[in-house]
Symmetry: C2
């Protein structure tokens, strides 16, 4: 059905052509040393050898399918079988591995790496995985976008299906653009421009894998939140204050507690608790 090519980058060309001729369903090219190290010719040969056969990579680890238990992957991973969940699509296989080790309770349905995107682009892969009804949202690690129009169309299709996308876009700094270029041959472009592009598409931008996973957790459970009004209940004024300050620099609003709720809370919590939002409900009611 599909092949994982864990062989030398020169040998991989002929084997790819043979697989395509056999009608293989698709192949992952693990080898690196193509466009990202300056060998555009070799990468072009690989694409031509694949022809109509879907090809992931080169310079990538392949696919982890936690829904059906199908793995084309050369290394460890930290995921487990799920019935539904989010899709992670990454140009960096190492970031994908590390995300698979998350202990944040986010169900991961698929992890797919696209490496140099020689044939199958990150947008192609995201489109395919988001078409699965068991996939609730997608998280992307992007170094370079091959076709901006196609990427925007993919995001719009996902939005029409009620699915949101969060992305880390590498290359905000010169040092990161250099790393992207020698990593997946991506032209990472200017940080402000790519942020503006992602925002216009409707992609939520995250700055770290931790932030991306926490956003995915919300998207998986609830989809996009309908508003920016926030409440929090803490048994300590310390956490209430910390929560308020952490929200402070964002476009979030703490509405006042409505009078009816205020009366109920006063009855329950007693006279020593100051009613406010965020609410420090104290520990008096613990008896």
């Amino acid at each position: 059905d599909a092949a994982f090519l864990g062989i030398n980058r020169h040998a991989v060309i002929e084997v790819t052509a043979e697989l395509a001729a056999m009608g293989c369903g698709g192949a992952v090219c693990f080898a690196s040393g193509f466009a990202e190290t300056g060998d555009d010719d070799l990468q072009q040969q690989l694409v031509e050898a694949a022809g109509d056969m879907p090809l992931l990579g080169p310079n990538c680890y392949g696919v982890l399918n936690y829904l059906d238990g199908a793995m084309l992957w050369p290394d460890q991973h930290g995921g487990r079988a799920v019935d539904r969940g989010v899709a992670i699509i990454s140009q960096s296989s190492n970031i994908a591995i590390n995300i698979s080790m998350q202990a944040r309770g986010v169900p991961i349905a698929y992890t797919a790496c696209v490496g140099n995107q020689a044939q199958t682009s990150l947008a192609d892969m995201a489109r395919s995985l988001l078409a699965d009804p068991r996939v609730t949202a997608a998280g992307l690690y992007i170094e370079g976008i091959v076709d901006a129009g196609d990427f925007a169309a993919m995001v719009a299709e996902a939005a029409a299906a009620g699915k949101s996308i969060v992305a880390i876009k590498s290359g905000k700094t010169e040092a990161a653009r250099h790393a992207a270029s020698s990593h997946t041959a991506a032209l990472a472009g200017d940080g402000a421009a790519s942020s503006a592009f992602l925002a216009r598409c409707g992609v939520i931008e995250a700055t770290s894998p931790e932030e991306m996973m926490e956003v995915l957790k919300i998207l998986h459970l609830f989809g996009r939140l309908p508003g920016n009004r926030l409440t929090a209940m803490c048994c300590s004024g310390g956490e209430a204050g910390l929560t308020a300050d952490l929200a402070g620099s964002r476009q979030l609003v703490w509405p006042q507690i409505p009078d009816a709720n205020r009366r109920q809370l006063a009855e329950t919590l007693g006279p020593l608790v100051a009613l406010a939002n965020p609410l420090d409900y104290h520990t008096f009611i613990w008896g």
Copy 2:
């Protein structure tokens, strides 16, 4: 030697006076319902009852001494015995508990809560704990500073002993100031002013417990870093790019790799690795 007072806030006054008369070494007042709920009189009675006896609180959990195995604490904690480490001094006992559960590898020597700071202030406590040669640095959770001059003097004394302080200062937002007021009766003041004050004292300001603990890890191991020049080695261009972008918004510099090191690296890593800082050293050398 010392007493933990886990009794009603009205009963605690008389017992505190008795302990002081007996020459008790110090007491922790766990009860709340003093100045933070508007009862300044009761808090004043408590301070007078203590007299010269050191008193922590009211409205606080006390002290965890992981160096000598001495605990005056009414709840769970997640620490373990250490020979040296950092001191955590917090107005919020709940934040102190949560920090004690950290899995970040920071050795915690002491955790001390000061609650309403009725008698012993956060600066008093920090000064005492930083005087212990086994304490390497301090992390503070501050709602209000009782005496700015004394606080600044405490930080200067610590700096003279080569010990640095990192702090979370609650109250950057109106919602957080309200929480601080009803939590420990602290007048949290304006966020910009308190940040400027902390910076002028030489205190490193953190915005979250996670950030505070990571800063404490560096302070414990190395003290203050002498410069802002940074290098990173990653086996993936993804992580190299992510590191570069995360550093990008801070005052950090990625120096070029010196020529001599560049030659050595080229010999070791081979011709397919682009030498840059941060360095994506690839996995070719893994054979």
